[in-house]
């Protein structure tokens, strides 16, 4: 199968590859997929005042899965939580020119974004109210 130039570029030069500490303040972590299925994505966001200031990923999977998550971190940076909610897998498919057999990679990336946002919300809601 031939990969699009954009997939190859993200694969060879992954953007924002790495990890934040999970318990760091303002960090939301999403982990989706399963090793038996051949792909697992970990996507993390760092939020300050409702804006995603940084994002990181680590992915076990094919080139398209790696490219999808790399692209997702690029898009997340600078977006508000609300804007980030609107990223759709079809946007990723279009940007990376993914063939039908690789659409599940983009679905996984959207799931990872949603999971990271949910995790962030959960952590923020659970934070004890400052009573000082």
């Amino acid at each position: 199968m031939a990969y699009s130039d954009k997939v190859v570029d993200h694969f060879n030069n992954p953007r924002n590859m790495g990890s934040f500490k999970k318990d760091e303040e303002g960090v939301g972590t999403g982990m989706v997929g399963a090793p038996e299925c051949g792909d697992v994505m970990k996507l993390q966001i760092k939020v300050q005042e409702d804006t995603i200031v940084d994002a990181k990923f680590k992915t076990f999977g094919c080139g398209s899965a790696i490219a999808s998550s790399s692209l997702a971190t690029e898009w997340l940076k600078g977006k508000t939580i609300e804007e980030a909610q609107k990223i759709k897998n079809t946007d990723i498919v279009q940007e990376l020119n993914l063939p039908p057999v690789k659409i599940h990679c983009s679905v996984l990336a959207e799931d990872a974004i949603k999971a990271a946002l949910t995790d962030y919300q959960k952590k923020t809601d659970a934070r004890p109210v400052d009573t000082k």
């Binding site: 990890s19 997929g33 038996e36 299925c37 994505m41 970990k42 680590k58 992915t59 094919c62 790696i66």
Partner: protein
């Protein structure tokens, strides 16, 4: 050294220039139909075909009259299974085969089952991919007409105990077919000593042309008969009609002759290169696991799973080396390799497997380059892998509740 490097010699092989040279006169100059009995053009073609038949038979210790030409090993497998089942349907309808056979055997058996023409037993293999002869014996019923077990596996290179299975078949009076596509020309094959009654193989796996193969059909002790699956002019003693592709057959013959002459030195050379590839890679990369038998395997085969990285991404990272993977993403079915699964290799490690197939034209320099590249890309992708990170943190990946998708 020229890039890309071809290390996928189980899928096909480049044709040996000496083979091409032998074929050239049979396209334009000596173009006759080998079945034309009444003129010089036909005689020249027939003579060339008979010469090739001898070269091919010699490699497998058969008689040249026992070679039936086909379009390739897939057709040979189909002809053997369907031909035997149809010919001997009054005597029995049960086939015994193994779960790691090539799909040309498995799907043929399944197709016979679906049509109600046969029942089949698919034997399990051990953790190295070997069929146990005792399992073969235990699976035999009074309806068993054919045993079909491959010589060497195309993914993991494991060599089956063919001689022992042949003995069992003979003792029980059951026909024995062997798909020897990966083994012929690479390791010694003797249809007499191995007790083989029918055997499939092809030219393009042994540096010959694509589009031609053979089915060995035993003529004596016992005389094996098969029902033709292709009707027509009655070529190949009625077993396979169709005008013989003379240039391809001439090339097939030459390819067999070269394999026979060079097998001893070539298998030693390939084993040495393969062992170096294995030793250097596994020494540098923790948690890389050999798939297949540690010693009893094809000289040019190496199949390794690299934990925590996915096979297709490995191939993508080594674009200048032609390899293959058991990962789902590289297969049409989106399922990881059924061969590795049959060995009991976990799905996640099946996704992480790479097959190296070394051949006649690979050099030490290419192996050096491959070793370097593999270590580089596996290290890079592990840095990128959340699974590797978790494993390093001491998380037991099996205890994690994954959401399968």
């Amino acid at each position: 050294m020229k890039l890309p490097i071809f290390l996928d010699n189980h899928s096909t092989t480049p044709m040996d220039p000496r083979v091409l040279e032998s074929m050239l006169p049979y396209f334009v100059e000596k173009f006759g139909n080998a079945a034309s009995r009444n003129h010089a053009f036909g005689w020249a073609a027939e003579e060339a075909v008979e010469q090739a038949r001898k070269q091919i038979a010699k490699l497998i210790k058969a008689d040249s009259k026992e070679i039936v030409f086909t379009s390739g090993a897939t057709e040979s497998d189909n002809l053997a299974l369907k031909g035997v089942l149809e010919m001997y349907k009054e005597k029995g309808t049960h086939i015994i085969t193994s779960s790691t056979e090539h799909r040309a055997v498995l799907d043929t058996a399944k197709s016979l089952e679906a049509k109600g023409l046969a029942t089949a037993t698919y034997l399990p293999v051990d953790k190295y991919g070997m069929v146990n002869p005792q399992d073969v014996e235990a699976a035999i019923t009074d309806k068993t007409i054919l045993i079909s077990v491959m010589l060497a596996n195309n993914e993991i290179g494991t060599i089956n105990p063919i001689q022992e299975i042949g003995k069992i078949a003979k003792a029980k009076g059951i026909l024995f077919h062997c798909d020897a596509t990966q083994g012929v020309g690479k390791i010694p094959v003797d249809v007499q000593a191995m007790g083989i009654d029918l055997m499939s193989f092809s030219a393009h796996k042994i540096y010959g042309p694509k589009g031609v193969g053979a089915l060995y059909v035993r003529k004596r002790n016992p005389r094996v008969r098969i029902a033709a699956q292709m009707d027509g002019g009655g070529h190949e003693r009625g077993m396979r009609s169709g005008t013989l592709p003379v240039p391809l057959i001439v090339g097939f013959g030459k390819a067999c002759e070269l394999c026979e002459q060079e097998m001893a030195t070539e298998s030693a050379r390939l084993s040495k290169m393969r062992d170096r590839l294995q030793t250097d890679i596994t020494a540098a990369l923790e948690e890389s696991y050999l798939n297949g038998h540690p010693t009893n395997r094809l000289p040019g085969n190496l199949n390794i799973s690299f934990a925590y990285v996915e096979g297709e991404s490995l191939l993508m990272g080594m674009k200048d080396i032609a390899l293959s993977s058991g990962s789902a993403c590289t297969s049409a079915t989106l399922e990881p390799s059924y061969v590795l699964r049959a060995l009991g290799v976990g799905t996640e490690l099946a996704h992480s497997s790479i097959r190296f197939g070394l051949g006649r034209f690979n050099t030490d320099e290419e192996i050096d380059y491959t070793i370097k590249k593999v270590i580089e890309i596996v290290t890079k992708l592990r840095e990128m892998s959340p699974l590797y990170e978790m494993a390093k943190e001491g998380v037991d990946l099996k205890s994690v509740q994954w959401a399968a998708h």
